[in-house]
Symmetry: C2
Subunit: 217 residues, 2 copies
DNA sequence: CGGTATCCACTACGATACTG
DNA sequence: CAGTATCGTAGTGGATACCG
């Protein structure tokens, strides 16, 4: 017995979209990812098999279109934005903030930061941020006027800034749980020239849903 | 590997609420069900074990409160309404209407009809509707001013109306896919005194999301 | 890079029986 | 009525290896 046997659109939509990974893939596409491995970078724990399967299912459903190696949302897919936003809003509002900071991957955070950088506020002289968070892989972020990008290796410029400490502290700030100063009190370290360090948090518009107040007991 | 490893509230909310059955249980509670078996009547295919488990999980999450044998939504639970509505809206708009009429259970439809009856439009002299749809269990609906209820056996009044034909036709009307006249062309039959038959469809405010236009190709 | 094919482990789920 | 306990299975999804 696989179906719910219900006429109601809630059940039918859940049968269709409720599978593991599915809505995360939609989120990646809503955020602008287009290529197979680009999507994967935002969802590191999904297997290639699974991603391929889900993308095919979404294509058959009419949510995704696949042409010239790129995946795009159809109108039906774009219309999933309210649903995804409702999920995020509820989660920000009611899920406990402190927990869940365990067992997180770094890359999705960095990709989100890259997406949310104020490109026009970045410094004109390129700055490279070395990101060495406890227990996480080493990463670099290039920040210069008009461009923000993440790489595994230093792109060639001098490392002007160094970020260290626990990922949980970075996430707490990014997600809107605490101010940057408090994230530093949680162990996050940002080192480099004083003016750049002071300016750095302002270079980013935090997580899209960072503004939603927590109501969790 | 069970988690998504994502900081994002979408993933966290989905880990929490995305399991099979969970949102259907929330829907039942949002619609006003309170007792264990009352919830089950709206979700006939869930096992008792599963329902008990899910309710416990929801209680631990702070979405449901259990006292004096009744289940209630907490504020966090009531705040799931926008999410459930977004799911239903997307489903009504984009999922194919024709299909999915196979393999449906009758009872959830009848319960929804009972909930959506205009109690003040029902006739003052009680009318019993005998519901004998092809391949479905026999049911009765008592309709009288101020009360609508569903039972497995005739509650004692004469059967003034008889409903027959395929469940798919009833559902198509209820869900807003077709007008009542067209449902009859799909094989739905309603027999009884002419004035009651004519009035009957007007006694109900159809499915909550019946008004949402389908955009499906 | 962008997938597909195959295999295996696990666990989520349903059926059944039992309790207060 | 309102559950809990136990157990067997079907199906999901991850790992691995392989293609174009």
């Amino acid at each position: 017995m696989t179906g719910y046997g219900q006429f109601c659109a809630i059940a039918r939509a859940h049968e269709t979209l409720g599978g593991r990974w599915t809505l995360l893939i939609v989120r990646e596409l809503l955020c602008g990812s287009r290529r197979f491995n680009e999507i994967r970078r935002g969802i590191p724990r999904i297997s290639r098999t699974m991603l391929a399967e889900r993308l095919q299912a979404l294509t058959h459903l009419g949510v995704v279109r696949h042409e010239t190696g790129e995946y795009h949302l159809t109108p039906a897919g774009q219309d999933l934005m309210p649903l995804v936003a409702a999920l995020a809003t509820w989660g920000q509002r009611w899920l406990p903030r402190h927990a869940a900071a365990e067992d997180l991957d770094l890359d999705p955070v960095l990709i989100d930061m890259q997406r949310q950088a104020h490109l026009d506020l970045l410094p004109t002289t390129p700055a490279v941020l070395r990101i060495a968070l406890r227990g996480q892989p080493l990463r670099f972020m290039l920040l210069k006027r008009g461009e923000a990008s993440v790489c595994d290796h230093n792109p060639g410029f001098p490392e002007t800034l160094r970020l260290g400490g626990p990922l949980a502290a970075l996430v707490a700030w990014w997600r809107g749980d605490v101010a940057f100063a408090q994230a530093r009190r949680m162990g996050l370290t940002l080192e480099g020239p004083r003016p750049l360090v002071r300016a750095w948090p302002g270079w980013f518009e935090r997580y899209r849903f960072a503004g939603i107040r927590s109501e969790a007991a």
